[in-house]
Subunit: 212 residues, 2 copies
Amino acid sequence: MMRTEGRAKRLPRAVRERQIMDAAVDVFSRLGFHAASMDEISEVAGISKPMLYAYLGSKEELFATCIRREATRMMEAIATGVEPDQEPDVQLWSGLRAFFGFVGENRTSWMVLHRQASTQGGPFAVELTDMRSRAVSLVAALLTQSTKAPATKLEAESLAAALVGAGESLAEWWLDHPEEPAGVVAARLMNLVWMGFGDLVDGNVWHPPSRR
Amino acid sequence: MMRTEGRAKRLPRAVRERQIMDAAVDVFSRLGFHAASMDEISEVAGISKPMLYAYLGSKEELFATCIRREATRMMEAIATGVEPDQEPDVQLWSGLRAFFGFVGENRTSWMVLHRQASTQGGPFAVELTDMRSRAVSLVAALLTQSTKAPATKLEAESLAAALVGAGESLAEWWLDHPEEPAGVVAARLMNLVWMGFGDLVDGNVWHPPSRR
């Protein structure tokens, strides 16, 4: 490790902010919102406490910013993961894979995003509600684009709300059962929402194209 | 309205507590947890404030008790609504009808149970998480009982988590779209989880036995 003089000042603001947020997500997820201190975050980020406040504001503001960033990253992962030229089932499958893949690779940030925010209440719960609305809009747009069926806006939105809730709840369950591989959990939701219980009861399961 | 002397003292404790909780759910849902006062609750319940504290404790305790009671009522409605001798699809349909029927007839208590609790955070969020776990266990038991398929405990539980999350999220969406009838919303989730998108894309929908 070479020691470089004055390195803190040479980084562009965006890079510096990213480092701070990485540190904050790490500290919040390890200690929880209340026990996390700006002292520890500044130490992990390798930045002075006044600079920390200057860049990202109070602990409350920093936490809200973390929620927004992690949620945005997750939605980008889904939007990028879905291949719009594929058949509807493959689109849905790639979206679910992207979602559970993201949650699995980012357990830490999902903890911050979801568990901490949903138990803190107040402004963080509002932040989470906003993000859920954005997720519902994203999924409704994907559903409308992929099915080309003449679904009404209300239909698409309500199915999207159900799907987002199912994914959110299953991901939450998965945090308590980390022994299950991401693909298994994703396939379970795929089978539920693509095949439906009707087929599952009859033993019909969905297979990705590579296994047909 | 006849005025009866000393009526407050003659009621059995259970009846009195029910009246207080009805009043509390009404006040909490109209004003929100923070703005709701024990003064207003005691006035609506027709009981003195010291008696209110004696019966159900502090405002926090009263709110937590309301959450528990409303959640228990809802799960009783579902457990009672499901007809265990019917075919699996009819069982699922009757469970969904019972759930959305309950939410529709109890918008007030659902608001208290769900929206307020999820935005208050802290002990109320814990209460809500506990209730969600109980709902997942109930639905997993119903699924296992109805399908008789050799599903593992993990499979049943994770499908139940997905289904509970879907129902919860769709009910939350429905609060913002009260113009949609309960049966339409329930049928949408039924079609999603019984038929699956695979059938919906092809235009195949599920019909209750009476319309086949």
